[in-house]
């Protein structure tokens, strides 16, 4: 039984339907990369899993989000709240704005273990400082009493990670955790996160637009395009034999050592906005292999020998 299972989750915000029948699952302790360009629906998927869609005026209109056999989208808000931060935690995109600027960072970590594990203030503090040390924060007991504006971006993101780990969750949803950071620190943060996830056997849903990160860190990949799943599969298989043309082009975007000048390929065009998705396969305007059928008929997500792909041409091995 998968730890997290999304089956045909459709999300609406007002009249728009930015997520269409999203389906994938995550096993306990597994690290799954959710990739796609901006606008593909990655962050919305995170919000759907966290049950925070109402904050942005959205809701799940059909399908189900199951976590350890509990159907989350039917859970009363009270019970859902008890899960958040306790069994499912979030690491957000921008550490600069994710911490309350007028509270000491330590208190913000303590808050989680005090609330969910019923710890007293002093024990919560010790626990937080210990967690901060594990995340290699220097002088953790001093930093515990600092305010967010006194810390660097990388340190703040470590605080956010400590906050996510504070109540020993089973699943962490990390929404582009390094996008807002300096390039030099990005690798460090990813490494620390993966290391902690492995050591504590926490499942990680790692949202990113960087296939390089996926190659280094993940077990499996979910590729999203324009609010739909394009392809899922193990990292090995996806990189060795991508079946969806979009996955192929994403892999083509990774800079590789020894690449000749001008050898790095981008993808022509942009992800269409949610208000004007094309008919048929949503990738067809940018796809070099597109046929007439792709313009009319939306491909279903079909199981492959390993993983699944939503492409009319995916049956034929490339």
């Amino acid at each position: 039984m998968a730890l997290l299972d999304l089956s045909d989750v459709t999300v609406s915000i007002g009249v728009l339907t930015p997520l269409d029948r999203i389906a994938f699952s995550i096993e306990a302790g597994e690290i799954v990369g959710v990739v796609g360009e901006s606008g593909s629906g990655k962050s919305l998927t995170a919000m759907a899993v966290m049950g925070l869609l109402p904050l942005i005026g959205g809701r799940i209109t059909s399908g189900a989000v199951r976590f350890a056999d509990v159907e989350l989208n039917r859970l009363p808000e009270r019970d859902y709240r008890a899960l958040r931060g306790r069994r499912i935690a979030l690491i957000s995109q921008n550490p600069m704005t994710s911490l309350d600027p007028i509270r000491r960072v330590g208190e913000q970590i303590d808050q989680v273990s005090m609330m969910h594990l019923g710890l007293g203030a002093e024990r919560a503090r010790l626990r937080s400082v210990d967690m901060m040390r594990q995340l290699r924060i220097p002088e953790a007991d001093v930093v515990h009493g600092n305010y967010p504006h006194q810390l660097s971006g990388g340190m703040k993101q470590r605080i956010v990670i400590a906050m996510a780990l504070a109540a020993d969750p089973e699943l962490i949803v990390a929404d582009e955790p390094t996008t807002a950071l300096d390039v030099t620190i990005q690798a460090q943060i990813i490494q620390i996160m993966v290391e902690m996830a492995r050591r504590k056997n926490v499942a990680l849903m790692l949202i990113t637009h960087d296939m390089g990160v996926v190659a280094q860190a993940c077990d499996r990949v979910v590729v999203l395009y324009a609010g739909r799943v394009a392809e899922t599969g193990s990292v090995e298989r996806i990189f060795a034999a991508p079946r969806h043309p979009y996955t192929k082009s994403l892999i083509g975007c990774i800079p590789v050592e020894g690449l000749p000048p001008g050898g790095l390929k981008g993808i022509d065009g942009v992800v269409p906005g949610v208000a004007n998705y094309p008919t048929g396969c949503r990738f067809h305007p940018r796809c070099s292999l597109a046929q007439d059928r792709c313009k009319i008929e939306a491909p279903l997500l079909r199981a492959l020998e390993e993983g699944a792909a939503a492409c009319h041409l995916a049956g034929d091995p490339p």
Binding site: L55, S92, N94, H149
Partner: protein
């Protein structure tokens, strides 16, 4: 924090000098001889000479200002022309009334304003929110002296619950405090509501929801706490409003106080008293702003840092 306090206090000196200079100049701008404006009608030549000597009125203006400032700092604000008492005595009699009225009105507007604003923000776009917004519009546009008169008409004349005027009992404070407070409540509620709605959209609030913090605790412990920062800013900037309201309302309710004293003296052209009252009110405004800044710095760690 100590350094911040000292710097902030030093900044007050030029402000105080500028304000006192304006008030000092009043008597020089008024048509006629300043000496006649400072003395009772029918004063003898000796009294005039004594006045000239005491205030150095035959010397250059900067010297006169220095003498005046020196006397004022020692608590000598001159002699009231009509009331024939030292101005400092008059102020000492009236100041406590104004202080009580002003601080009660401030406390009322802050507490009720924050509570109303927070309620409106929590039920944004609901009927309660709309009601509050309408009351805010009315409260901030109706002239306060008219509100005061209507209160007197309804609660004192018709219902007889409170005294019409005066300051003999505590119950005489209720209507004046309410009247000044309504404008303040409207202001504070509007700022609280707007700030809470804006802050609720911030990333860190989403993060709090993701941590599983109950909504009520997020709203009161985090969002409201942040919303208080702009509220304190507005209050410290506009603490003068409360004082201005107090001046008007004291007169409406015929209560003793600096405002009544000021307006009566203005009508009687009793310039030493006018100067004394204006000076005290100006000091109150300056101190109010200072207190606001200190409270703000105590609440916001980022501010303490930048001002250090």
């Amino acid at each position: 924090m100590a350094l911040f306090l000292i710097r902030r206090l030093l900044l007050l000196i030029p402000v105080f000098l500028a304000v006192s200079l304006v008030i000092f100049m009043i008597i020089r701008f008024v048509p006629g001889d300043p000496i006649d404006n400072l003395l009772q009608i029918g004063s003898t030549e000796e009294q005039k000479t004594a006045m000239i000597a005491a205030y150095g009125l035959d010397r250059a203006l900067p010297v006169q200002y220095a003498i005046w400032l020196g006397k004022m700092l020692q608590g000598d604000l001159g002699e009231a022309i009509i009331l024939r008492q030292p101005v400092s005595t008059l102020i000492a009699q009236n100041l406590p009334h104004s202080l009580i009225l002003g601080s009660l009105a401030l406390a009322f507007s802050t507490l009720v304003g924050i509570a109303t604003g927070a309620l409106a923000a929590s039920f944004k776009d609901g009927w309660l929110d709309r009601l509050v917004m309408t009351l805010i519009l009315l409260g901030s546009t109706l002239p306060s002296f008219w509100l005061g008169l209507l209160m007197i008409l309804l609660f004192a004349v018709q219902l007889g619950w409170f005294p019409v005027s005066g300051a003999r009992s505590w119950s005489a404070l209720v209507l004046p405090v309410l009247t000044i407070g309504i404008g303040g409540v409207a202001l504070v509620a509007r700022v609280t509501r707007a700030a809470m709605i804006e802050i609720a959209r911030k990333d860190f609030v989403t993060m709090l929801h993701a941590k599983g913090v109950p909504p009520l605790q997020i709203q009161l412990g985090h969002v409201l706490r942040h919303a208080l920062l702009p509220v304190v800013t507005i209050l410290s900037l506009r603490i003068g409003w409360v004082l201005g309201g107090a001046v008007t309302i004291e007169y409406v309710f015929a209560r003793p106080g600096l405002g009544s004293l000021l307006i009566t003296s203005l009508n009687q052209r009793d310039y030493p008293v006018v100067q004394g009252c204006l000076l005290m009110l100006a000091i109150a405004v300056i101190l109010g702003t200072l207190i606001g800044d200190i409270v703000q710095a105590a609440m916001d760690p980022r501010l303490r840092e930048t001002l250090r």
